[in-house]
Symmetry: D3
Subunit: 240 residues, 6 copies
């Protein structure tokens, strides 16, 4: 099967890194196709950029010319999953939801450790909208901007691990979710520092997407995610 | 003061009608400026169109060349208000939230009567994200598409009033919110049919925007709605 | 239009101060009428005094001989708004609810800073009953009794600002509501100390009452706030 | 021990009937003292009357000249219990809460069947404020006014039983609470009609008050129910 | 009347101590029968042991040869009450629920202080399942294992009182529940240290069980607690 | 990898059928080992039987002599998953939770259709305890006992499909979960009748268990699911 893994920002190196993470866990026979949106911000750390990313991801998927079996939206706390579900029949998996849903199977409560403080509310809102906040102990910010994660991985691990330890001790989290697509690859070191399971959203999403395909499940079209009605569109999609 | 009232779809006659409603309730000295987005769908009735409308509204506001004191996003259940709040210091009022917030002052519970069944979840999610769902008795669909409201106003009133009566009798609503920007103007006739107060989001939003300005309140910039960080943007905004 | 602004305690200087705040924000053509109850406590800081204030406010309004367009109950966390809504057709606005409802338009979450610790539960219960607690980050006490606010305004500002700063930093509030009618007038100085918007309930309530009147909305009489049924009353109202 | 059972309305025959119910279940050695407030409405069926009853009950208890061990507030959904708790050290038991708390021990969920539709919201709010609404399946109105319960007991049983049956079948209630002090005495006949346990608030409250006294428990004075602070009171209590 | 008080562990001295506590508060004419399960763990401090205790308690009650009027399950946070309710018509009272329900009558919020940290989630889940968590301020662990409570009572009181004080000051609890059957007997000393009412689950349960019997209430059999359907059982109950 | 799939009842034909379903979806290289408990009821339809099943499943897993990589508890709404998680390091997946978690990825809300009405509360409680009830539209009973599903499959499909259709139309479910291990195999026919995705818990659980193993995740041992402390056990496990 073929799974599109769509970055929410326009930084190609992040797309590449996400793609590698995804491929690393994919089952034999699964082809991972990483996509970068053709417009938007170099990193997504707020509502304006996130709404823009939502439509950019949708257009990137619509523009993809080959058939595919599932889509992963690889932005943590980002908007837009519901729109993709209207456009497609195949399963759409948001990595925020994939991580939380997976974490709940290996502990009674989980915390998310994300990048900047300002993205905490977006993640909280996404978890709440998805019905996954009951067992969320906290969403904590490491203070590392998305693009800094790559520039100084050692500092990133330190900052993330510190918040993870506080989540376990103070907020009573039993599992940690890495709350940023760009954190893929740090899981092992955070496990060492906290002693609890650490879930990465991208790899979790790959196994969930594969599972949904194997179970023959597609998005329900009965109401919320029915295809858009035929309509006159003005000046959209944008001319390249 | 000057208030921008931004339609979420590209149908100019709806913008005009919304603008008239807004102007009808505006205080002396308030200038209402209706805006139509330069791209998007002719009506917004689902997630894909709504996410697109979110960015179209933001770009319409960014492109407006004159100073203004507040913005009203005139789409019921639509995405995007949080993005506008990042971009602006002046108050931003979403009509879904304005109607609910106003309704709560004149009754113990309220229901929303909207256009199509598929938009019910969007409105429920918007109310929930805004912390306004505790006193929401129900969100009901009249079955009228947005563009049909104008084509057959008599049928629209009938369909809306029928659901409003059921909301009062079956769901125990004490106030009705008209859940669609295009329903502005039908309030009086729904009052006659139900005997309960009926709130229109556009006019409610005008009084709230004016109030916030008079109270000297602007959007808090301390966390969630801090301005976007300086970033490299690719291919955005779209070339006209 | 004429708006009655009813103090919940019997201290005339507080009534006067509330009336001045209200008048300061009222629109041209709005007449503010401050009222003091004819019985009750000199300040309201608990349930016994609050229930008593509830009936004292109702009797003060019933005794007012002229027509009026709206009523503001100027007690923070006080009981009784629902009773006034039964007695009247015109809008009734509680300042606790007015402040919270207004705060939600300019930030994702708000905290209330009130007088004594013992009044915190009353405010929490009022917000919860009104469906306004989802976005409430915390209710904090400054430790200043109501009558001390006037006696030592500088100490009051310090005590309130300290709790406001903690609300923003520790509880993640993005807006502060001043949780006591007697705090009207301190808003500006708390803004300076916290950097976030500060909402005063009395002035917020004036704009909301005016808005409801302009929108032609009156209290729903369909169920909860239907007029009291005709009944034999014993020894009530009390002889003056 | 001596328990005051305070009616919330001024109808002496109801006080008498409540007192008999209470005495019927009281343990040997418990003296039941029924009290009627000296002011207020002949029956309480709404917010205005209920707030008035709150203060009337408090004054009735304050005026009682002998020592006592506990107080029962015998109004269903009525305001005021928190005020009594401030004034007294001995336990105060509200019959709404007593019935719900008792019902939860004999079934997974309970419904309340009350008098008029307009009192439903008061009961819902009381249960919610007391933390007892999670297991409440519904609050239903029989349509019988309080004073009609006595005038036509057969019709009352029919109307109440009909709603009780619907609560069990449609709302999945497993226990029924009789939601009106005046319904004391109908329990047995409602059991016959529904086949589920039926809880009367007055008798439930007597056993709870006795239990709290036997356990040596008194109201916590640490915060919410601390005694009122010393204050100047104006024109209160009312001259007889 | 006769009340069975069933320990959840197999330590006879704890059964004895629980029985004494129960007998100390029982009304004249109430016979307390303490029972020890015939299989299971010497103390219950986790899910595996708790599920085992659930069936052990049920078998202990089934094996009891004489008639009885009510059953108390004397394990804090333990599983199984719902199963007993299916097997019996007479009231079944869980001490976790008895303590919480009683605490709510004497304070606005309560905290539980239990033995080990690992039992906190069990108690939280039990309170939540019983609809008693709204007014729960916190569940705190003293760090004392069940069997250590007896071995070093002075240290136990210190450890429990320390957490109780923090619950009152930091979590705003107004009542403390002693969260372990083995803590019966420590209440008085915790009252001295905290100044708030302290509820012991075993004694609270005795008064509730007696009350339910006096009120003539038995477990509702309409749905959740209907008797088990006739079935083929394999290898159960275990041969002694 | 090897996955144990444990039936909760003692009927071997159901174990066999569950095992076949599991094997049908398992990835190449996954060995499915179906287990039947050595004691308990022939079908589990209530709390008593469910608590007994909980310990029977735990003993069945403890008695299994070979290594394994994950365990699936194949009872819908049954107790016990938390106990298994204490006993094991490898992932434990409950089919109730697996189905709900999977359903949430393909629709905004889901309903469960189960066997008898009396099992509805167990399923509701399990979903609530697992943090999966926010998006649950309803749990409905088909009225078919577990052992009847096999005896008259055509009637079973009819009864289940009828409730499924009502869930979609009346409760606004967008996905259906088959709420009984014995319903495995009916999914396709319910899809035909409802037009929405249908999730079977057993197959969903297999893909989740495989995913957790592939992701290298094991149960968090930091608090709730720490291994049982060393203890003296009396008369357990039962002699065969």
């Amino acid at each position: 099967m073929r799974i599109l893994v769509v970055n929410v920002n326009t930084t190609a190196t992040i797309t590449e890194s996400i793609g590698e993470q995804a491929a690393g866990v994919a089952a034999p026979g699964t082809e991972i196709v990483p996509l970068t949106p053709s417009f938007g911000a170099e990193s997504v750390e707020g509502n304006y950029e996130s709404y823009l990313a939502a439509v950019a991801v949708m257009e990137a998927v619509r523009a993809y010319p080959e058939p595919f079996d599932a889509v992963i939206q690889a932005g943590y706390g980002e908007h837009g999953r519901e729109g993709l579900q209207e456009l497609l029949d195949v399963p759409v998996v948001d990595i925020t939801e994939a991580a939380a849903s997976t974490a709940q199977f290996v502990g009674r409560s989980y915390s998310v450790v994300t990048s900047l403080d300002r993205t905490v509310p977006l993640i909280e809102d996404r978890l709440s909208a998805a019905g996954l906040s009951d067992r969320c102990a906290s969403v904590r910010a490491s203070g590392m901007a998305v693009l800094d994660l790559d520039r100084d991985p050692a500092a990133a691990v330190d900052a993330i691990a510190e918040q993870a330890v506080r989540a376990v001790e103070d907020d009573r989290a039993e599992v940690i979710c890495l709350g940023c697509g760009g954190m893929s690859g740090l899981a092992e070191r955070v496990v060492e520092r906290t002693g609890v399971p650490v879930v990465d959203g991208v790899t979790a999403a790959v196994t969930i997407a594969e599972s949904l395909v194997r179970l023959g499940l597609t998005t329900s079209k009965v109401r919320t995610y029915a295809p858009p009605r035929p309509k006159k569109m003005t000046n959209w999609p944008p001319r390249p």
